[in-house]
């Protein structure tokens, strides 16, 4: 055990995501745009529901998905097109989540569909590029 294995190759030690620090991408246009979208959706949803919902309902169904979306938006972009698209679609999903009210929970089950959609779009883009 523990000796060099001639038949198999190991990945580099920092596989799969490297070892560079994860720095927020404050100046990224997509991150800023998506954050604005999330804030707009959260603001609109708050205005609509503020009369009917308690503050804990607003925190759970509007503020939480909005904060998650903003965190995700400013997280570093992955290098591949499909992963980047998956991240942006999920971030946009958080904006929709802030509007969804009690439908937020079943919406979470739809995240794999967003990820699958990003793979499909990636395949189409790859095919067009030849």
């Amino acid at each position: 055990m523990g000796q060099a294995n001639p038949d198999h190759h190991s990945a580099r030690p920092d596989y799969p995501y490297g070892s560079a620090p994860l720095l927020p991408q404050w100046h990224d246009r997509w991150a800023r745009g998506l954050s604005l979208l999330i804030m707009a959706c959260a603001g609109y949803s708050t205005v609509v529901h503020v009369a009917d919902w308690n503050i804990d309902g607003i925190a759970l169904l509007i503020v939480l998905p909005a904060l998650l979306g903003i965190t995700l938006a400013f997280a570093p972009d992955p290098p591949s097109f499909v992963s980047r698209l998956a991240k942006r679609l999920t971030t946009a999903g958080c904006a929709v989540g802030a509007l969804a009210g009690p439908w937020l929970a079943p919406l979470i089950l739809g995240v794999p569909i967003l990820l699958a959609a990003s793979v499909a779009v990636g395949a189409i883009v790859d095919a067009r590029r030849g």
Binding site: M1, S10, D14, S19, L22, I55, V82, L109, A120
Partner: protein, 436 residues
Amino acid sequence: MHGVAELLTPHLISLARAALLIGPTLLVMILLMVSQLTPRQATAAMVGGLWQLPALLLFNLAAQKLGWWHFQPNPASVLGLPVDLWIGWALWWGPVAVLLSARLNSIAVVVSMMVADAISMPHLAPLVVLGDHWWIGEAAVVLFALLPALVVARLTEADIKPVLRTCFHGLGWGGYMLLVLPACVLAWEGRDYVEALQSASTARWVISLAIGLPFLLIGLAAAHEFALVGRGTPIPYDPPKRVVTSGPYASIANPMQLTSAIVMMAIAILTASKGAWLIPLTFLIFDGIFATWYNRAHIALAMPDDWGKYISAVRNWVPRRRPYIARSATLQFPDAGRDSRMLAWLMRHLEDGLIITLAPTAPSLRRQRLVYTSSDPDLDAVGIAALGRALEHLGGLSAVLGWTLRLPGVRHIAEFLTFVIPLRRLGTRLKMGLAE
């Protein structure tokens, strides 16, 4: 019940719930921004948080049954635990505890969190109503939720003890499949998961267990193989360092994904929940499309030769009839007399790629063990694990028995039994040897 001087008004309760959710969320965001984490450190924080959701839900169930505490009834609750407090608590004891313990002393972090609970919880009635022995529950939940999260996070950050890490992930993922996900879906349907389990018919239990248990075993064996051979875990951010082709992976490329989908189908059958059928469906969509792409994009790029050979021989979802054994190996029997039945059986079923050798030695008090030596040294094994590896060459039920024998716990019990049971026979043979 624990005495309280003053009860919170409904408005203050609402405010407290919002603060207990948004406070930890903002703290995580700030710590992520200022900590400049490496991907591995971020993975450690995530792992700590993932551990909390099933652990807290399970211990809250125990707390209700044992009278430690209970929460105010709320429509947005899962098994009596309000969703906002659950998420806030998981973030507080997960990423916040992990990220703070990276900067401060871990013991100080744990003690501070316990002190915070001791001070705040008695003042949160009727949001949470404490029983007389609530501190026993607090100690239990610290021991089984907070401390394991910190331990597995530190192990992940240091990238050490992959088998132990995988045991945590196995328990954690089991908690998601068997508790968190079905409890959430049933709560959404307005049902109680525990009541659904209690009221399920015998036929549903039999069908669900018959479907689910074998696949749980396959999933555990696959996760163990990731740790043992690949020195990584099933978490995509903390994956194996090489292409793993042994164990269940010799028959099918997606054993854990298949396990998750089938077990969730078994849960849907057991609970008679239409909503629960959505979970295996989403698993299949995720694993069939995104995870397949992810493997192509990451593993195939990092280890192209090994991955190419493997994926051309083993399909993602349909098991091979014969296992893919890309190695040759020798199984050495030290004592043909002691192991004669096993030896004869293996000789009758001998497969390509496995050579059996005999190296008889005189009976002695020193333990004599089987040795499996492979052309892939990561698979070398001794004792019961060696027998398990040899059985994998045979495929089918023999292979399943082989994976099972190598599982942590099972292997230790089997080793103990094979040590204790032959002692008497060995003693007789030693006496015979001395007499001669």
